[in-house]
């Protein structure tokens, strides 16, 4: 009998969303008993690729082979039947159920019409002992720590007979101890003959457990390397690629007074994870401070704590020398802060209101826009028209409902609102996510214009290119910590990539 060596093979897989290629001609070969890392930046197309394998959507081109037989994977149930299991980043567990109930959900062993709980519990227990996944089958999921919940997810996949396990960013939500444990579990799993695809962007994890690593960038296949023949430097470089930092016209760096000063900021989540860990930074007038890092390393909490949208545990934030303690969000905006949030739909806009109504979202209460009771509708409309022109917002009129507009135009509405408020400090997060090149250039030019006018800018982005071309300084954030600072004119992608992946200089 010939032993199958390739458990999963992808050939030239492509997936398009509209005109945008999320995956383009990607090749991947997973061997039996191997841990194969899939490395790439946010939005590189890793999750899209694995969703294709799990049957969540169909590829637009290419072939999938499972155990060397070409197969069209119809849906997740089909994938499970083929022995593919997925451990999602966001657990899909029923909190009120016990561990056993969650694991057997949908595949309950039955006697007649009754669930055979006894045999189920035993089966779960056996599985957990076999793979070293220590879980009490009878405890309720809501009482379990995040790391243990993840084990339940793994057990769920194993219970369904998975031989190929896909881990989607499994360490993102774990504490360092839990990460160590998880990596050990993975090793046990492959020792028992399972194969693992590990989606991650953390280099140290790859180096410590993976056998092979495939790198994808911007939806395209870059290279597959053997871990024993490579090092973190090479991986980092492969991940970020050669960025041609496009030189934007800007005045020489000439920092003025400190506008924003953060000292020793700490924030701990309810489950005890450190979200912000002793963060200190400063931004001066006339400079762009870039915050580099992979999503989920504390960036959103950092900016939300600056505007007092969330409360931090300890630490101090000063804007123009004044502590922000006890100030309302509105106070902070009035002290000269503008904030372009990462999530335009959730925070930045009221999608069911029109352009001009969204343009006054922050300042509607000011005398400028109302006479104490009534909104100055005419003036608001006229201003809306002006700003649409000034910021190149393309829509039928200022009365167009924002929901139906393109992402770029929506972002311009936010930008128009925040920039017109003449800030001294502009906090801007992921300003160009999902936008086309025209909109990106427009927004970049606006940021530079403000910098040249002396505005202090805190730019949080996951795009290295954007950070390198706009920033005067770059701080790297990893796991809630500022782990280093680089000069964009004096760094390279490898250095940045390594730091973003948690490797110090």
């Amino acid at each position: 009998m010939k032993r199958v060596e390739k458990v999963l093979e992808l050939k030239n897989i492509s997936k398009k969303f509209g005109e945008f290629y999320a995956n383009k001609n990607i090749n991947l070969e997973i061997g039996r008993g191997q841990i194969h890392a899939l490395l790439g930046e946010n939005g590189a197309g890793k999750s899209t690729l694995m969703s294709t394998v799990f049957g969540l959507h169909q590829p637009d081109g290419g072939e999938i082979y499972v155990y060397e037989r070409q197969i069209k994977i119809e849906n997740p149930n089909h994938a499970i039947k083929l022995g593919i299991g997925m451990v999602h980043q966001h657990f899909k567990l029923v909190e009120d159920f016990t561990v056993t109930e969650n694991i057997i959900l949908g595949m309950e062993p039955k006697i007649g019409h009754r669930i055979n709980m006894k045999s189920a519990t035993k089966e779960v227990k056996d599985l957990s002992e076999k793979y070293g996944l220590k879980v009490d089958p009878n405890s309720k999921v809501e009482n379990l720590a995040v790391g243990v919940q993840q084990k339940v997810e793994i057990l769920k996949a194993l219970y369904r007979g998975a031989n190929i396990l896909i881990f989607d960013e499994p360490t993102a939500v774990l504490t360092p101890d839990e990460i160590g444990e998880l990596l050990d579990i993975m090793k046990t799993l492959v020792a028992e003959g399972k194969s693992i695809v590990l989606i991650t962007h953390k280099l140290n994890e790859i180096m410590s457990v993976a056998d092979k690593c495939t790198v994808i960038r911007r939806g395209e296949y870059i290279k597959t390397v053997d871990i024993k023949d490579t090092d973190e430097n090479e991986l980092a470089q492969l991940m970020v690629g050669k960025t041609i930092s496009k030189q934007l016209d800007k005045n020489p760096f000439n920092p003025a007074d400190k506008i924003l000063e953060i000292n020793h900021l700490h924030l701990v989540s309810k489950s005890g994870r450190k979200i912000l860990d002793d963060v200190s930074l400063t931004v001066h007038g006339g400079e762009v401070l870039g915050i580099a890092g992979v999503d989920g390393n504390g960036q959103s909490e950092l900016v939300e704590s600056i505007v007092n949208m969330i409360e931090t545990n300890t630490g101090e934030i000063k804007i123009k020398g004044q502590s922000t303690k006890g100030k309302s969000i509105r106070d902070i905006f009035e002290s000269g802060v503008s904030y372009v949030p990462a999530d335009r739909h959730k925070h930045g806009l009221v999608l069911d209101k029109n352009i001009s109504e969204n343009l006054i979202l922050i300042e509607y209460y000011k005398k400028q826009y109302n006479d104490g009771l009534n909104l100055k509708k005419m003036l608001i409309r006229d201003e809306g028209k002006q700003k649409m022109q000034a910021f190149d917002i393309r829509a039928e009129s200022e009365a167009t409902i924002v929901r139906g507009m393109s992402g770029g135009n929506q972002q311009k509405v936010i930008l128009a609102r925040e920039i017109s408020r003449n800030p001294e400090l502009l906090i801007i997060v992921q300003p160009t996510r999902g936008l086309d090149i025209g909109a990106i250039n427009f927004i970049h030019n606006q940021i530079i214009r403000l910098r040249d006018q002396g505005v202090a800018i805190l730019l949080v982005s996951f795009e290295l290119e954007e950070l390198l071309s706009l920033s005067d300084r770059i701080n790297i954030i990893f796991d809630g910590k500022i782990i280093g600072q680089v000069d964009p004119n004096n760094t390279n992608d490898t250095e940045l990539g390594l730091m973003m992946a948690g490797k110090g200089v």
Partner: protein, 356 residues
């Protein structure tokens, strides 16, 4: 192109109108099956509503609480809240105005006005209680408001029995004449129909609703909170404060309903075994009216007419008034499931074209 856009725009208004027609037709079919004459039934319904000066006065009396309840619910909806506790706010408003109306000695009009104000504030505070439970302890307002309905009911029993009982009957003592807010001379013109200050105050509330949301900055921020409370929080709007304020106004409108019933209609408050249910009618009316000024007004009038007219149907055609309850439920059903009605729309369009 233009016509299509127009069509799409009208479609949302068409749904409730069609829902109403379909429901009436359904009602007619059911009457036929049950052996009643739907023609006579609907005629007697209309006759009951517009038949005499008294009936016109009384139908207005019947519509006022439904309108107010609809707007109380719509207001809360606009802020993203489902206030199904209007019944409780009605009860609290009623009992508060009852106490002022019976226990205090004031000259006429001033007495009525004072009792009214106290009732309105009491209803508002009852709403604030719901808001407090939501903002402070994150208790869902649907649950707290429906539970507080019972608290309000039994509290009213306690207060009536303990403070203003009427010996030998299941109701409170009568309010003093000075506290009455009836419009006596108009009432005489209408053969005794129980019309009261609500005749003037209700239109003011409706206009206030329109003005609040279409003109004022307070309406604007309320809507922002309702549409996207995350964005509201980001924009520096104090979401909890808006929720509290909205529930106060919503509860105050609810309280007003109770005040009108107590000071304008009954002149006493009954120890009833359940709350009036007007608050739940309000939920239906706001839904039917899509939380808009004109829509809520029209649906409040429609439901009021149907409810009041149902007595005429029973009298004139022997049709049990449950049929009207069924028709109202069907209207709500079709509006809540617009897919059903919309499926019919293109067909109608189609047949029209064929005829041409």
């Amino acid at each position: 192109m233009n016509a299509v856009a127009k069509h799409m725009k009208n479609r949302n208004i068409l749904v409730p109108i069609l829902a109403t027609i379909i429901a009436l037709v359904f009602g007619a079919i059911i009457m036929l099956i049950a052996g009643y004459n739907p023609v006579i039934a609907y005629q007697s319904l209309l006759n009951k509503v517009f038949g005499s000066a008294y009936d016109i006065g009384e139908v207005i009396r019947a519509i006022i609480p439904l309108l107010l309840s609809g707007f109380a619910v719509a207001l809360a909806n606009k802020a993203g809240l489902l206030n199904i506790g209007v019944d409780g706010q009605i009860t609290i408003g009623a009992v508060a105005s009852l106490l002022v109306g019976t226990l205090v000695d004031f000259p006429p009009i001033i007495h009525g006005f004072t009792a009214l104000t106290v009732g309105v504030i009491a209803g508002g505070l009852w709403g604030v209680l719901i808001a407090y439970l939501k903002t402070r302890f994150t208790i869902n307002e649907v649950i707290s408001s429906i539970m507080l309905n019972y608290v309000a009911l039994y509290l009213s029993h306690m207060l009536i029995r303990g403070i203003v009982p009427q010996e030998g009957s299941q109701r409170s003592a009568l309010i003093q004449d000075s506290a009455s807010i009836s419009l006596n001379s108009l009432s005489e013109l209408l053969n005794g129909a129980r019309v009261h200050w609500g005749l003037f105050i209700t239109p003011l509330i409706i206009f206030g609703f329109y003005y609040f949301f279409n003109k004022t900055r307070y309406g604007y921020e309320t809507e922002v909170v309702g549409l996207n409370n995350h964005a509201a929080h980001y924009a520096g709007i104090k979401v909890n404060r808006i929720i509290t304020r909205t529930m106060f106004i919503s509860g105050a409108i609810g309280g007003l309903i109770g005040v009108f019933d107590t000071l304008g209609v009954y002149k006493y408050m009954a120890i009833s075994t359940s709350t009036s249910g007007v608050g739940f009618d309000g939920v239906a009316i706001a839904l039917l009216g899509g939380n808009t000024t004109i829509g809520t007004t029209l649906s409040g009038v429609l439901i009021g007419v149907l409810k009041y007219g149902s007595q005429g149907m029973q009298f004139g055609a022997g049709v049990p008034s449950e049929i009207i309850g069924m028709i109202i439920s069907l209207i709500i059903f079709f509006v809540a499931a617009p897919g059903l009605v919309k499926k019919l729309l293109p067909n109608m369009e189609h047949t029209k074209k064929e005829v041409q």
